[in-house]
Amino acid sequence: MADALLKIDGISAGYHGQDVLRGLSLTVAEGNLVAIVGPNGHGKSTLLRAISGLLKLTGGSIQLGERRLDRLRPDEIVAAGVVQVPQGDLLFPEMTVLENLQMGAYLPAASARMAERLEEVYTLLPKLRERQHQVASTLSGGERRMVGIGRGLMADARLLLLDEPSLGLAPIIIDQIYEVITTLKHSGRTILLVEESAARVADKADHIHLLDHGEFVWSGAGSELMARPEILATYLGS
């Protein structure tokens, strides 16, 4: 078992004084792909927002290696090596694809290796090289998602947070996105991914946590979850 890179210990967080996450604990080992699955509105994105520092914790702690993250600003958390590819597009709509990717390497450490990183992203996502001078708002949904992932890869991330990368996309595009995610996993990246569909991540994730009403109600390997239809039916309706 590899060392734990991310350690989340009993965190609670929410909006307007109402906790959405209730005492969640989780570890992500170096080089692993860990998936959080669960229905909409049960705290998956809230968890990623809390890790990225966009949401203050009301309890618990988050550590990356030996460093406490939960007292840092979002930009300091990015500098520490946690990069999020947010849900939906959240691109810079009036910037070109290239400018969006350059923003991914905004911090000085990543900026110093901009050309090298850009080449890596273009190799992984060749469509982005063709579209590099196109304004982001004119791209298709799948292309925008690719830019989002490419932008996340431009930073020197130790941990990549992917928030529902398949949301709103056609099945063929979802397959392409997951091919990229699988390549990233095989290249040794540490990934924490949230998804609504367990089937989509079951064969790719090293570990799956099922989130319901802000609490983990089941954890284990993907194959185990797929072999438990009663759990899938109860929590995911499938």
């Binding site: 947010p86 691109l91 709509p93």
Partner: protein
């Protein structure tokens, strides 16, 4: 023909002055969704600092301009610290900061009033002479204003388009949360934008006072026109603001010649009403869809 040359020369000078002032306002609105009502006071402050540096301290014009830019930049920073920063994240940010900057502007204007008195003063920075095109004399002062405004617009465009800081400013304006997730320290960007806007206001104030005169409330009229231009262009659209400023400067000069000075401002206001009916998001603005 002479009349046309005269109108174009006056219109471009007016437009250039409006552009410098409008870009600062537009940049702040685009980045922070903040209507900076202290902008007019910063214009006046810039004019007076240049005047004081040259007249009371006897220093050259370049030092006067630099001093005005630095002081107004720092006051812009102070506006961020005193008004915007405490209200960031508040659901009533836009209303709160609007009122807070009115108060801040009033304080600055009253400090100027106490220090320099209510009487008009001539701006010390004046370029003598003129050039003649046909039978029209165009003062060198106007040409200097045009050249400085053009230089500033190019510099701003390069800053926003080509530099790392410019990309961060645009990113923050387009999507604050996404910018944070890229490692941009948005508070720092907001502070820089307000300081930049302060520096631009200083130059605009020196330009305006060099054509008219220095008064503690001299920033009111240019600020109002800058707001009109921002609305016509689409709030927060910097390129649109420059184009609209030049166009409205030319329109104002034409209206002043053909209809009389008293109708030019009314015509500008009429234009705003027409634009808001036709395109509520401005000529260069983008339609926004708000999910309730």
């Amino acid at each position: 023909m002479d009349v046309v040359i005269q109108i174009i020369a006056s219109g471009l000078t007016l437009g250039a002055m409006y552009a410098v002032s409008t870009v600062g306002l537009s940049l702040v609105y685009g980045s922070l969704n903040m209507l900076n009502m202290a902008h007019g006071a910063l214009l006046a402050l810039g004019g007076y600092i240049c005047f004081y540096t040259m007249t009371a301290l006897g220093l050259p014009a370049v030092v006067g301009v630099l001093a005005a830019v630095v002081v107004c930049g720092l006051v812009g920073l102070l506006i961020y610290v005193c008004t915007a920063a405490p209200l960031l994240g508040s659901p009533q940010f836009e209303t709160g900061v609007f009122i807070a900057t009115i108060g801040f502007g009033a304080v600055v204007e009253n400090v100027i009033l106490r220090m320099f008195g209510p009487q008009p003063q001539p701006q010390s920075l004046q370029v003598p002479g003129d050039i003649v095109i046909g039978n029209v004399h165009i003062p060198n002062q106007n040409l200097l204003i045009l050249a400085v405004a053009l230089g500033l617009m190019v510099a701003m465009a390069l800053l926003l388009k080509r530099s790392r800081l410019g990309r961060a400013i645009r990113a923050t304006a387009q999507n604050r949360e996404a910018a944070q997730l890229m490692g941009v320290r948005v508070g720092q960007i907001y502070a820089i934008v307000l300081a930049l806007s302060g520096g631009l206001a200083a130059i605009s104030g020196i330009m305006v006072s060099s054509l008219y005169s220095l008064l503690p409330n001299m920033g009111g009229d240019p600020m109002l026109k800058a707001f009109i231009i921002c609305i016509v262009a689409g709030l927060g659209n910097v390129t649109g603001a420059v184009i609209s400023a030049i166009a409205l400067g030319l329109l104002e000069a034409t209206a002043q010649y053909n209809l009389g000075v008293q109708y030019s401002f009314a015509l500008l206001l009429f234009l705003v009403i027409v634009v808001l009916i036709w395109r509520p998001y401005g000529l260069f603005g983008r339609k926004q869809v708000v999910r309730l």
